[in-house]
Amino acid sequence: MSYELLLYALMPDLFVVVGIFLALGLDYTWLRGRGIEDRNRVVARVATWSLLLGLGAMAQVDFAGINVGEGQLIYTQTSITLKALVFVLAAVVVELCARVNICRHVSEFYALLLLSTLGMGLVITGGNLLSAFVALELTSLSLYAMTALWQHRRASAEAALKYLAFGGVSAAFLLFGLSYLYGATGTLELVRITQYVAAQSELPPLIVLAYVFILIGIGFKIALAPFHFWAPDVYQNAPTPAAAWVASGSKIAAVVLLINLLAPAFGDNPAPRIALGTALAALAVLSMVWGNLAALRQTNLKRLLAYSAVANAGYLLVGLVAFTPVGRASVLFFALVYSLASIGAFGIVSLLADRLDRDAEIDDFRGCWKTMPILSGLFFVFVLSMASIPPLAGFVGKFYLFYAAIGSQPDVAGWSEGWYWLVGLALVMSVVSLYYYLKILKPFLVFEPAGAPLERPANAASATAALAVLAMLIVIMGVYPQPFIDIFRSMG
């Protein structure tokens, strides 16, 4: 390994690092004493440009086959694509932040956002236990701080503390699991761990224990029931763009890490599949049922979206229980599609309701169709995609998950074999979820306003454009998903 190669491989990340220092530096020197609007505008541009330059670097540089430092950076077509998409999503979140003045610490907020993006990118490209853990914690720590930064809302700090406490415990579990894995196999490199497990006829108990801890740790991060208790508070009380980021980017990163860590189960050795498959199925059932039923009775839109996120994390595992390459691709596809819709939905809420001095309830959005048909239409697309209505990407994503789950074991003699029962439950829960998705669409598209409707947000053109890009992506991925599937299928 040479420094030259390292710099070359880290080029996209370096742009982001420069962006972080530039943002902080400008804010502390040149922008000192300026109004908060000015500072916000300039710093947001810096953040956007650093992300765009990072994206440009990813497009320009030939990363094929780069593997730095025992798998600490592994570039494949899949990982590059995912990293690029995370950067794109981050740029959309910047666009959302740029038009609300969340706090006085403008540059710190953007720096944290960029830091978390950096962490997510490194998780995605990491093939080494240590680097992946460090990168994931970089992401998480930035997100805790971002959650707390809605300074004029007390609940924001409370949610952040809750997030930090839960997150700290989960990190401990994860680290414990990873250290057991290291202890059992003697290596930090995932490829070698996979080789080691493949050679065992029976799974050593230590490794089973390791995976139990890992599942608990990552279960916290992707808000799987019963490890989801932080999610409703954080989603509701974090600054809305930060909540969008927690719901999307961090989820993609954690899912990729989960898939990477589960690599041994994808091998020829069936031993890990049986134990892990059952555990994942149990988590999936719990998350789908808990998330969907709890969402039914929410009246706060962001809180409802949090429970829907729990449910969606459950669906995600349905594709994973199969431990097939198809299943892996379906999980990545679904995670991406869900993230797009999530950022979209939170983005709309941020545009419409962040200027209110209180928490927006679902009924506050009554009559939006009248005052802002375009934003209502975009919200329609995002929510229907979450509700998996064709021809939107959410439908293809969910269908692909089910396809993968059943396809891994299609011949069944009884109901206990195969995954028909799990898919059946997921389908029932999807019908349940339709109730609350329609419930949140109703005020936007059906009801007459009660009193004065929300006013059209000022200077929202660029944020609306960013959301429109997301909606277009959702439509394109729904109507023509094959190219995206191809990318995810090439993994591993």
């Binding site: 293809v396 059943i406 299609p410 389908l427 339709l434 329609l438 059906v446």
Partner: protein
Amino acid sequence: MTALLTILLSFAGAAVCGLMRPRDHRQIRWVALGTSIAGLAVALFCWQRYEAEGGIADLVDIPWIPEMGVSFLTGYDGISLPLLLVTGLVAVCGVLFTWDLKERANEFYAYFLTLIGGVYGVFLSLDLFLLFVFYEIAVVPKYFLIANWGGERREFAAMKLVLYSFAGSALVLLGLLAVYFAAGVESFSLVDLGHLTERERFTPGFQAIVFPILFVGFAILAGMWPFHTWAPTGHVAAPTAASMLLAGVVMKLGAYGCLRVAVGLLPAGAQVWAPLIAVVAIVNIGYGALVALRQNDFKYVIGYSSVSHMGFVLLGIATLHEVGMTGAVLQMFSHGVIGAVLFAMVGTVIYSRTRSRKLDEFNGLIDRMPGIAWVFVIAGLASMGLPGFSGFISELYVLIGVWKSDYLTGHKGWVLVGAGLGILLTFGYTLVKIHEAFFGVRHPDGNGAPLKPYKPMTTPEIIGCAILLGASLLIGLFPQLLTGVIGPSVEIIINRLPG
């Protein structure tokens, strides 16, 4: 490619309407009318050109998601043709009977035409995935049509309808995946899977398990008892154009899926379950008719009569005999046009004048709206299955099918008696309700002055009624026009039955 124009035009029309300004409602309705007439014209053109002897015409095959063996595969045969026609007819008339709509007209017609496009799509799809996609596209607009422009209890009715529909489609999705993986050819194509059925790729045991999943999934949308309860509430709460579509077309989506997918791919399963389906169909006919007899809300009468009439469709499918299944498809067409005209009369023509749908509040309608009353009587006669109208032919076919069926042994006689009683009940409630509505109470209002007549039918209303009743009469007098194309296509499905 011609037939695809129906879908493309409808979606394009929906987009255009959606982008227009609400206050341009006059222009919007012309766009909607033009779009639906163009769709009908394409359907008529396909019908006129169809000479494939039961086979598939106008096949379009574009790979779509090769990963899952999904292709964009469309075409039509003798079973889809009558349904394309009825979709076109009801769409045109739906616009005509909503001619005065002003409130949020752009959104209304955007949903309306999206629904139409989805329905055309289902009838043209030859790929199970594609069929499912269009099936769901057709469901979502219904929610907004009812919740936005509906009558009393519209949110409840809309939600109930959508949840029932999606529960059905969840079953369908599970069934589709089971069939796909049992076939093991990585293809959702109905053509490929149909060939496998002919080669007995699906074991009888598998078929017996998966058939009811698929059949019930689709039959929920067809209004099969005991899953029919969404239908009357949905029909009643819906605005006129939407209830015309619901009764006329959307319920047919379910029946079409039962016939094309469930019976078409899993005939051995159908054999096992046919006797039970026949019994349920009889319950549908009789229960729907009896409940209709007890209603005071005129729209509920029509709503339950739809449930009753769909029983004949299910019964025809359950015969698994060429004549009976031809009758089922014919009944889909027939009820499509007649159900639509009944809902139009009750929901728009009469309601807009009397401002009431309660039978006991109607007062001397035969004197105050004689023209409308007689049109309704004609529609009622058509609904009863009077000879000369399409309903007569289709119910006759179904009954002959029951008689000839090889699979209803044991209780064939009872089924026939039940169906016969059902027809009598239909006569009964139709006549009773027509009497109550038009020829019932006739007392002058308080000061003894004669009641003022209502204004006569408007031109769009007259054209709409003429189109729908004319279609029913045409097929009633010349059934060969449709049975000639339906028969050979049904035969292909019948030939897949083992033994």
